[in-house]
Symmetry: C2
Subunit: 352 residues, 2 copies
């Protein structure tokens, strides 16, 4: 190693799902929406004069913040926006998790939490999910440096009732509790309604799934004004202008089109029910999903093998080669037609 390499930060990065690109593929591996964004998004982008790109965007992103606050009945000073929920979560980790005590998150959850903890040198501890992949609230009652929970959890798809989230908040009044709700719009109940009672709660959501805008990189946090102010100060110490002009315009338009957003979520919930019943008929166990994906296992065919055989057919799902979940596949819910073709392919693979 050369001398100048000695002080380079060494990390094991998060590995996102593959981004294959075949014309005939069915891409069910990164939990994207099968639907386009709201038509209002296209209109907003068409109306953005290219000339204005020479000017910096609003560093406070007031327009998008206001549209989001209005849609959740919050004040503008309760909303923080960033470059996808990963940016928002990373910023929240940096802002809030500066204790010597370990932060807590489940052993099986969004696999970026431990990556951020290591990047920022945050100690962490991971209470295991139970044998049914459920979180036990009492595992989070002890002393800690903060709590972060994905709800619904990923990749399990399981939603934890708000009453249980609240018991965790009640036992963690002295630290920040982050609830990462990337998948909340597919049947869960948001912890946003707990914000008036808990000043130490941070709720994070994203435009990448239910708003069908993974390609635009927009995420947001909702919390008490004091916490949002702290996040904005850290953000302004990192990068003053994170949201570019197209993201601000498109995000605002999407946030305002609640009807389209609800209709897309409802459609995915219906297609999920259809897919789950088809998989059950074929002998799969699917965990009870409140997300835009199913987490499924089959007694006769190893998940890794099914993953490979689907891949050969240009059907992409997500496989995690990790303890406890290495016999499950995470299957994003696509259109009705995509899921019918997916089910046919699975049926055909199982019949050989």
């Amino acid at each position: 190693m050369k001398a100048f390499e000695q002080n380079i930060r060494r990390v094991t990065p998060y590995v996102p799902g593959d981004q294959p690109d075949f014309p005939d593929m069915i891409k069910l591996n990164t939990n994207e929406s099968p639907f386009p964004p709201s038509p209002a998004v296209k209109a907003a982008l068409d109306n953005l004069p290219a000339d204005t790109l020479r000017l910096y965007p609003d560093p406070d992103v007031k327009k998008l913040v206001h549209a989001l606050a209005a849609s959740y009945d919050l004040r503008d000073d309760q909303v923080f926006v960033g470059v996808g929920s990963d940016d928002v979560l990373a910023m929240a980790f940096m802002t809030f998790f500066n204790s010597e005590k370990p932060i807590l998150f489940p052993d099986i959850t969004y696999s970026f939490y431990d990556v951020w903890a290591r990047l920022f040198h945050i100690p962490y501890s991971c209470p295991p999910l139970d044998e049914n992949f459920k979180i036990h609230p009492e595992d989070y009652f002890g002393e800690n440096g903060g709590v972060v929970l994905a709800n619904p959890n990923a990749p399990t798809s399981i939603f934890m009732p708000l009453s249980e989230i609240e018991t965790i908040l009640q036992h963690n009044q002295d630290v920040i509790v982050i609830v990462d709700e990337a998948y909340i719009d597919f049947g869960g109940v948001s912890a946003v309604e707990l914000l008036p009672k808990y000043e130490n709660l941070v709720v994070v959501q994203t435009f990448s799934k239910s708003r069908a805008m993974a390609g635009m990189r927009i995420g947001y946090a909702m919390a008490s004004p004091a916490l949002i102010q702290a996040m904005n100060a850290v953000k302004a110490s990192y990068n003053s202008y994170t949201m570019n002009r197209p993201a601000i315009e498109a995000g605002t338009a999407a946030a305002q089109d609640t009807a389209y957003f609800r209709a897309c979520c409802q459609k995915i919930i219906e297609t999920r029910a259809y897919t789950a019943s088809r998989l059950a008929e074929m002998g799969f166990t699917c965990l009870d999903s409140c997300t835009n994906f199913l987490f499924a296992s089959h007694p006769a065919i190893p998940a890794a093998e099914l993953y490979q055989k689907l891949k050969e057919r240009h059907i992409f799902v997500r496989y995690f080669n990790k303890p406890r979940i290495d016999n499950y596949l995470r299957i994003t819910i696509g259109t009705d037609e995509q899921m019918a073709r997916f089910c046919e392919a699975v049926k055909e693979i199982l019949s050989h």
Copy 2:
């Protein structure tokens, strides 16, 4: 202070220039380009199907990386892209400055360096510029944890010859040396040509000034493959998908339109010469600028007062209330017409 507030990271954020918005204003305060981006940018955005926004962008941003590498005769593995050069620089600080020894940068320079150092708990030391606002290379020859230099420097506008950058590199083989070239295209010579000789050199540039795309948030670093790989690993530990689809398409188009880019830079250089001579006629001292702004002082009117009087006329320039530079104004070069109007306003203020 509530218990949960005790572990919040407390920072003094960077304060960007005001973003006033008056229809009749002349905005010369944030070093934006007075010209629109390349027409190819508009075409690229018009050709981006809104439907594709449902899909994640390429996390490796291969298209934009390749266009940039090609335009600098580099290999693709020598280029890193981020959300503006602030994102790139913050990532570089986090990746490379992990020594116990202080990093070095001048006392007067881009005012984000000390903000990042404090955010990431990096020790730092600031050799003073001399009485002519010049950097003395030998101030950077001692033991340190890394070096970061803006060249041309900001807000002084002064370019340091590449031979002096090279002596600093020769005396700093064991640490990373970052050269921040936000303003290099307005008459300076890029340290990119030193990359084959110095594996510890990182050159950072931006689309915000010479590419007229501050609103799109694109910056990039050029370095040896080992350093770019280290930055990509840290980036993938922070946020896998930072560049949204419009930024990738627009950035690629702009990077490919070298002719338009050079013509805009040339025009700004000419207008800068005109403005500097008009200011000199009125008794101003302007530092010798290789940037898209002038740093100017007048013996008869305090900079703070001139700043205020211009502001009242909706002409916005930048004033820094900081030691040593509090009698200077930073004046962005606009169009010929804007600069003529600016000079008339200054003349009128001076005559009262």
